[in-house]
C-alpha cells in the first residue's frame, strides 16, 4: 500500500516537474536551455514511477512502519528537530538547544529528569564553548544576551 502511494507520488511529482521544466524553455540558439535536462530527469522520475507501479512487488513482507511506542519515538525526534528550527532565531542557540535536548531525552527515551537536565545543559555549554571560543564562530544569542 505504501509502495503504491509512493509510486503515485513519483508519477505526480515527475509530471509536475516536467510541466514546469517545459515552461523554462527547452532548446535555444546555442543548445539546451534551462528546462531541457530537468525535463528529462522529470520524465525519468515519472517513467520509473509507472514502471514500479506495474512491476509485481518482489517484497517478501510489507515494509514495517512503526507503531505506538516506536512511532512516538520517531515522531518525537522529528518534533524535537522542528522545535529547534523554529526556536533558534528567537531564543538563541543556548535555550533552543537545551530545550530540544530535554525534549529528546525525556519524551523520546525517558531519561530521568536530573539526568536529562544535566546532559542537556552540559552538551549545550560544551558545544557553545567549542564553536564560540575554540573555532571562533559564535552561535546565535537569545533575547537574554546568551
Amino acid at each position: 500500500m505504501f509502495e503504491r502511494v509512493l509510486n503515485a507520488f513519483w508519477i505526480l511529482l515527475g509530471a509536475a516537474a516536467a510541466a514546469y521544466a517545459w515552461t523554462l524553455g527547452l532548446v535555444g540558439p546555442s543548445g539546451p536551455e534551462s528546462g531541457f535536462f530537468p525535463l528529462i530527469a522529470a520524465l525519468i522520475v515519472m517513467g520509473m514511477g509507472v514502471a514500479l507501479m506495474l512491476a509485481p512487488s518482489q517484497r517478501a513482507t510489507a515494509p514495517e512502519f512503526p507503531r505506538s511506542a516506536a512511532l512516538h519515538r520517531v515522531l518525537g525526534v522529528v518534533a524535537g528537530l522542528a522545535l529547534m528550527a523554529v526556536a533558534l532565531p528567537y531564543l538563541g542557540f543556548a535555550v533552543a538547544g537545551a530545550l530540544t535536548m530535554l525534549v529528546l531525552l525525556r519524551m523520546v527515551e525517558r531519561v530521568s529528569w536530573t539526568g536529562s537536565v544535566a546532559l542537556a545543559l552540559g552538551s549545550v555549554v560544551v558545544v557553545m564553548w567549542l564553536f564560540g571560543n575554540v573555532l571562533g564562530m559564535p552561535l546565535p544569542r537569545g533575547p537574554w544576551g546568551w
Binding site: G136, M137, P138, R141
Partner: protein, 336 residues
Amino acid sequence: MTRTALVLGLLAALCHPAAAQSGDAKAELARLKPKDFPSQPIEFTVVYPAGGGMDVAARLLAKHVEQASGDRIIVNNRTGGAGMVGHAYLATQAKPDGYTVGVLANLMWGDAMLRAQGRWAYTDLEPIAYVNTDALTWVGPTEGPYKGMSLKQIVQAAKDKPGTIRVATVPGSMWDYIIEQIEANSGAKFLRVPFQGGGAGIAALVGGNVDLAQGFYSEFRGYLDANKVAPLAVAATSRMDFLKDMPTFNETLGGNEYTWQVIRFAVVPKGTPADRKAYLAASVRAAMHDPELVAEYKKTGAFFDPKLANSSDLAKDLGDYAEAERAFYQKTGRLK
C-alpha cells in the same frame, strides 16, 4: 622577514598592535562611540564565497577596522544565488541594530532592480563608507591566431567573422553588458561562453578554450607575470596605474559609456540607529585611511575613485551610479 606569532592556544588571538593612525581619526572614533556598543562581535557580511575578490577585500578591511577601533569583527560569508541570498538577507532579515555591516559591491543594484521582484530596493541598505573600485579588464591570448592583436583589431575580427570569437562571460552581469554594448556599437558579434566567474574564464583562456576573457587584475596578474595573457583594455574612465600601457575602452572605441566597475562599499540595513551608524562609518573610514590597507588594496589591483573617496554624501553619489545603471537596464529593455 618573520614575525613572531602571538597565538595563544587555539583561540584566534587577534592582536591589535598600535596602528599608525592619526590621532585625529582615533579621537573621532572615541568621541562617536555609543555607550555599550558594541557589546558583542560585529558581523561583516560578505555575499560571495570565501577566498574570492570580495571576500579578500572584506577581510582586509575587517582586519584594519579591528586595529583602528579595537572592536571584534567577524567576517561571515552568506552565499547562494550569486549573491542574491545574502543581499536579500541584509535587506529584509538582518536586524538593524548596528551589529551587521554588509561589505557589498554595486552588483547589489542589479539584484535589487532586476531580481528582487519588489521585495526590497537598494535604498534599504544605507552606505556608510566607500572601500575601493575594481575595473573590468579584457585580456587576450598570447598564443594562437589572435595573439598580439589589439582590442580594435579583435573587434574588427569579430565583425568580419561574426560568432566565431569566443568570449568568456558571466551571464546576467556586467560581463554580458559590455559585450552587448560593443556589439551594438560596432556591429561585431562574439560567441559568448558562460562561466561561473571571471577566474574560470581566464583559466579557460590560458587553456585555449576561449579566445578572450574578462576579469579583474587580481584574477589574471599571475598569468600576466608568466606571459600567458595579454591585457587589452580596461573599462574605466582612466588608465590603471599598474598597467599604464593598457588603454581604456573609451579611448579605443570612442565615447564614454564603457565604464564597468565593481564598486565596493560598506552598508548597514535601513533603520540602524544614527549614532551606531555614524560610529561604524567612522571606524571604516579610519581603516581606509590606514596607509597599510591602501597599499594592500593597491596590490590587488583595486583603485580609489576620487569622487567616492572624497564624497560628502556617499548615499547620493552611489545613488547616482545606481540610477545610471537603472537607465542602462531601461535602455536595453531589461527594466520597464
